[in-house]
């Protein structure tokens, strides 16, 4: 099955075949990372613009490396130090960049729907690198690639996603992607951080960490933003860490011995994850990051290829 979409906007819009194609493509590109000369000519002559309206270390760097390993010209745009500080609107900036004929625009923005907006307005391919609390599809894809590598398959696996589900684009993309590939997803957190009707997205809900991690193959811990406290959603970081922080002790007592610990980063060490867990034997957090480059190579390749690129 081939890739037909102009854009990659969400996991929700993809079917299982498309997701598998993306994961397979990424898997096939992974070996480039271990080459002495990390460069293939697949996207030579193609231009990729990273349009980042929100700070990002992992995702932006990862897209940049992915583009460069594929020989694309990669241009980084960040909102600070641009015309945005002179009051230019998002849509105007994007149209101006599009007028310079890039092949792919990778967009990160704090507003949900920002990537969909660009996809409607611009002729080039758009990759959603995170839009508000909506979706972050390439993160879900690298999570899936990591899980398949470690577990060998998807079907029948059970994943617990723990923490601030309400404000997490990663949780939404993961739920859609995992459900479509036959996995069971439980979301867990204090009720104030669980969005209403999340069951209708296909997730089960738990309000107790010990219950949520008991019978799962993967635990995905999410970052807790400090501002949730001032918004009155949780009483204190101390209480959150005590009830929702994952420690070696809780793992030993409640989780399976072969469980994988994942985290999209950046980690609040000592809040949602004890340092010994983040750096411990269960953790595949850095594997996720390296898979991220492969996933973004795959996405750029398929999208630029959709426009008549010369393929891998």
């Amino acid at each position: 099955m081939g890739w037909t979409r102009k854009d990659l906007l969400s996991m929700r819009e993809l079917d299982a075949g498309e997701i598998t194609l993306l994961v397979d493509t990424a898997a096939s590109l992974q070996e480039i990372a271990s080459r002495d000369i990390k460069k293939v000519p697949a996207l030579r002559g193609k231009t990729v613009v990273n349009l980042f309206y929100e700070s990002s270390t992992r995702t932006r760097t990862s897209f940049e490396i992915a583009g460069k390993w594929l020989s694309a010209d990669v241009i980084n745009f960040s909102a600070s130090g641009s015309s945005t500080t002179k009051g230019e609107s998002f849509i105007d900036t994007a149209k101006n960049i599009a007028a310079m004929s890039p092949d792919v625009v990778v967009v990160r923005h704090s507003s949900a729907g920002a990537a969909d907006l660009l996809a409607r307005e611009l002729p080039c391919s758009i990759v959603n690198a995170g839009d508000g609390a909506h979706e972050h599809p390439t993160q879900a894809l690298l999570d899936l690639l990591t899980i398949r590598e470690k577990k060998g398959h998807f079907d029948g696996l059970h994943v617990a996603i723990v923490g601030d589900i309400a404000h997490s684009r990663v949780a939404r993309s993961d739920i859609h992607g995992m459900r479509k590939l036959g996995m069971t997803v439980t979301v867990a957190g204090p009720p104030t951080l669980i969005p209403p009707f999340v069951q209708e997205l296909g997730a089960k809900v738990s309000y107790r960490l010990e219950d949520a991690i008991g019978d799962v193959d993967v635990i995905m811990m999410l970052r807790l933003q400090q501002e949730r406290m001032t918004a009155g959603l949780i009483p204190s970081l101390r209480e959150y860490a005590r009830f929702w922080g994952l420690t070696l002790d809780k793992l030993a007592r409640h989780a399976r011995p072969d469980v994988l610990i994942m985290h999209p980063g950046p980690v609040n060490r000592g809040i949602e994850l004890a340092p010994e867990v983040a750096d411990g034997p269960y953790s595949v957090i850095l594997d996720q990051v390296s898979r991220g480059v492969a996933v973004r190579m795959g996405v750029l390749l398929l999208l630029a290829g959709h426009k008549g690129g010369d393929g891998a």
Partner: protein, 427 residues
């Protein structure tokens, strides 16, 4: 100048009339209704055979944006949009710039309306100075200048004590207080309804309770003060239930609903079209069903558009940063005729009552009836007119509608204000 509207089906709910009749208009007043009326000399005759002739429609909730935001709308463009949409009168909200919180601003609006208005314009004064919710506006002067109601619409007066005093102070004026019922803490930061769609899209939502809490408060304050409180743009099943119970207990509360809350749900937001963003937000199917039921049984007294023009630049960008509100004057009648009357959910006579007799009664306005001697404000409908909504052809200065491209059957055919046909050149 006289006008004879021949052979239309006249529906005048105030007089329980539903029959094919002629309507004779003389000197700006309804002169006579009857079969085969003799045409006086010098009369303009309109053949309305097959059309519906009703009292002029009143839209008691619009934003004309003048003074101060003329790039969105003016009295001239807004009243043209109203006439094109079948309305003979509009009530304009106070959130202009400057705010209509004193008699000078009211005078300005009325002066503009007299010169440039194509339909009647009834200003609504602010409840609090500059809509800040901190101190009362000059309510007596506003009433004296011609304001027909008081409202901080767009904002909710969160201070219950101040709101109570506003209700008491305005009791002698016989003009209602109109509530924008939205607890600003419960709705803080929200773009849309809180529900399955907000969860899926990751957009901050506000619960139905943000409205219900304030409707309950305002009903209790109406009971305390004896004031007439009118709930603007009801959007929840909870509001319908609260208003129904309050009416049964004899409390002076009335309510309106917009066409968009009657025909759209939060599902429309999945398009990411900022023209699905308004306050209150589009709710659920359950809410829509309750609103229709309330409109039919009289719990909800009238339909009003909450016509809220915004420039393209305020609607084209990121959804969460887009302005709240949509235009409605030029689509309202056709949307409700097609989606509610033609589908059998709303009797035609009820629609006409809710858009003429009932708003006139609750605001003590002249009109709302075709009784002899009443102002000759007449709306004529064509139930068979087929139209496609084309925002580019709107008379309004703004185009922010979620109904672009909708194919609708039934719509306004002619608008008569004070005996004169309000003619709007097609665009």
């Amino acid at each position: 100048m006289s006008l004879l509207i021949r052979s239309g089906r006249v529906i005048d709910p105030a007089n329980n009339v539903d029959a094919v009749q002629d309507v004779l208009i003389e000197h700006g007043k309804i002169s006579r209704l009857g079969r085969h009326l003799e045409a006086p000399a010098d009369v303009e005759v309109v053949d309305a055979k097959g059309k519906i002739v009703c009292p002029g429609f009143i839209d008691m909730h619009v934003h004309l944006r003048e003074p101060g935001q003329e790039y969105k709308e003016t009295v001239a463009t807004g009243t043209r949009a109203a006439a094109a949409g079948g309305f003979t009168a509009v009530c304009c909200m106070a959130n202009t710039s400057p705010v209509n919180d004193n008699g000078a601003v009211t005078d300005y609006i009325l002066a503009k309306a007299k010169v440039e208005g194509l339909v009647r314009v009834y200003p609504i004064g602010a409840v609090t100075r500059n809509l800040r919710g901190e101190e009362l506006a000059e309510l007596a002067e506003l009433a004296e200048s011609g304001c027909v109601a008081f409202s901080d619409d767009g904002r909710c007066v969160m201070n219950a004590e101040l709101y109570r005093r506003a209700m008491e102070y305005t009791l002698p004026f016989g003009a209602p207080i109109i509530s924008h019922a939205e607890d600003s803490a419960l709705s803080a930061g929200a773009s849309i309804n809180e529900g399955v769609v907000s969860t899926e899209l990751g957009l901050p939502g506000q619960p139905a309770a943000a409205e219900d809490v304030m409707v309950a408060r305002d009903i209790l304050l109406a009971e305390l003060t004896g004031a007439h409180v009118h709930i603007a743009h009801a959007s929840t099943a909870g509001t319908v239930r609260l208003v129904r119970d309050a009416k049964a207990r004899g409390i002076r509360v009335t309510a309106e609903v917009t066409p968009h809350h009657l025909v759209l749900t939060e599902d429309a937001v999945r398009s990411w079209d900022a023209n699905t963003k308004m306050a209150p937000p589009l709710r659920t199917k359950r809410d829509v069903e309750a609103l229709i039921e309330g409109l039919v049984d009289g719990t909800i007294d009238c339909i009003a558009t909450d016509h809220a023009p915004h420039a393209l630049s305020e609607k084209e960008g990121e959804f969460d940063r887009a302005a709240f509100g949509i235009v409605g004057l030029e689509t309202a009648v056709a949307v409700v005729l097609d989606r509610l009357v033609r589908s059998g959910h709303l009797p035609l006579a009820t629609l006409i009552a809710r858009w003429s007799r009932d708003p006139a009664r609750l605001l003590n306005l002249p009109g709302g009836t075709l009784s002899a001697g009443a102002p000759a404000d007449v709306t004529v409908l064509d139930l068979d007119a087929e139209t496609t909504v084309e925002p580019a052809r709107f008379h309004s200065r703004s185009r922010n509608t979620p109904f672009g491209g909708w194919q609708l059957r039934g719509g306004p055919w002619m608008t008569v204000v004070g005996g004169t046909i309000a003619r709007v050149a097609p665009r």
